[in-house]
């Protein structure tokens, strides 16, 4: 695996990101990662807060239209995250906190899919705009997992 990380870090893409003379390359990838976070976690938080009972006047059905926008945020971060990882694979790849972050992001995406299936695709819930306790539990878990992913992601700079 370490060989793989070394190889990854020495690919043309990775060296371009990590060693480009332009001040724009690495920081712009980093900025994209932050913006993707804002889109994905921010919209997810809106949906989670609604499911938890804040802003009860917001109907559930139209909120489902925000899922594709969240996936855009997710893919911005999957791509920018891969680029940032490639640029420093041999150091990031051996950080346990990196794998914690990866696991939390994975859990966050799974929770979003579960929320979509068990809340937004459930006519019994969407038609009457009353969230079940399962839905509230998923929403609380989603908020906790995203917060955890942010903590782990930030701490990668210090490990």
């Amino acid at each position: 695996l370490l060989t793989l990380f070394d190889w990854l870090q020495n690919t043309a893409l990775a060296t371009w990101i990590s060693q480009s003379d332009s001040v724009w390359v690495y920081p712009s990838v980093l900025a994209a990662h932050t913006i993707g976070l804002g889109v994905l976690v921010g919209i997810s938080a809106v949906i989670d807060l609604r499911l938890l009972g804040f802003a009860p006047g917001v109907p559930l059905a139209p909120l489902e239209r925000y899922f594709p926008i969240m996936w855009v945020g997710f893919w911005i971060n999957a791509i920018s995250g891969f680029a940032l990882f490639a640029a420093a694979a041999s150091t990031k790849g051996v950080q346990w906190i990196f794998y914690v972050k990866l696991a939390l992001v994975f859990a966050g995406v799974i929770l979003l899919r579960l929320i979509r299936r068990s809340v937004f695709r459930n006519r019994a819930i969407v038609d009457v705009n009353v969230v079940s306790s399962d839905g509230r539990l998923l929403a609380a878990a989603s908020l906790a997992v995203w917060a955890g992913a942010i903590v782990a992601g930030r701490l990668m700079a210090y490990f």
């Binding site: 001040v23 932050t34 804002g38 921010g42 919209i43 938080a45 006047g57 917060a147 701490l155």
Partner: protein, 164 residues
């Protein structure tokens, strides 16, 4: 205004000493700053998109009930932002990325003020499917552009200029 003198004064405050006394203070403030970012951008962004006509079945006033959470995010970020500024004033005050970030924050603030004064009474009562006045759409676009610019220049802070 002499920014370097101001930075020197800030660096000599007890707050500046405290921020730099322990590594965990800065690291924790960074985490809080990113959580606050998500709240502000997510809630403001969803609200702006509704003003622009996306997911129009959501009553504007109902969505506005989430705004206190955006304010929580904003307050967290102002507090942690002030900690960063006092922690390393010379890196921030004269940094072009920081100055642009502040500029876009002021724009976002004036934009909220304009919305509150002129368009809140004309939009918060709008129900499912109702369209907003075009002026409110201009406000929404300004808001989206400002917050994305705030994030962008915030993240570019350590890399623009030679302060870091």
């Amino acid at each position: 205004m002499d920014l370097n003198a101001l930075a020197g004064w800030m660096a000599a405050t007890p707050l500046s000493t405290w921020v730099n006394a322990y590594g965990w203070i800065w690291q924790t403030a960074e985490i809080v700053h990113f959580v606050g970012l998500a709240l502000v951008v997510g809630i403001a962004g969803v609200f702006d998109l509704r003003l622009l006509g996306f997911a129009r079945e959501i009553p504007v006033g109902a969505l506005n009930r989430l705004m206190p959470w955006a304010v929580v995010g904003l307050v967290l970020n102002i507090i942690t932002g002030v900690l960063f500024m006092f922690g390393a004033p010379s890196r921030y005050l004269t940094n072009p990325a920081f100055q642009l970030k502040i500029l876009f924050m002021i724009l976002a603030g004036l934009n909220v003020l304009a919305f509150t004064l002129v368009y809140s009474s004309r939009t918060l009562g709008l129900g499912a499917g109702q369209d907003t006045p075009s002026g409110a759409k201009v406000i929404a676009v300004t808001s989206l552009v400002s917050w994305f610019a705030v994030m962008y220049f915030g993240r570019m802070l350590p890399y623009l200029g030679d302060a870091f």
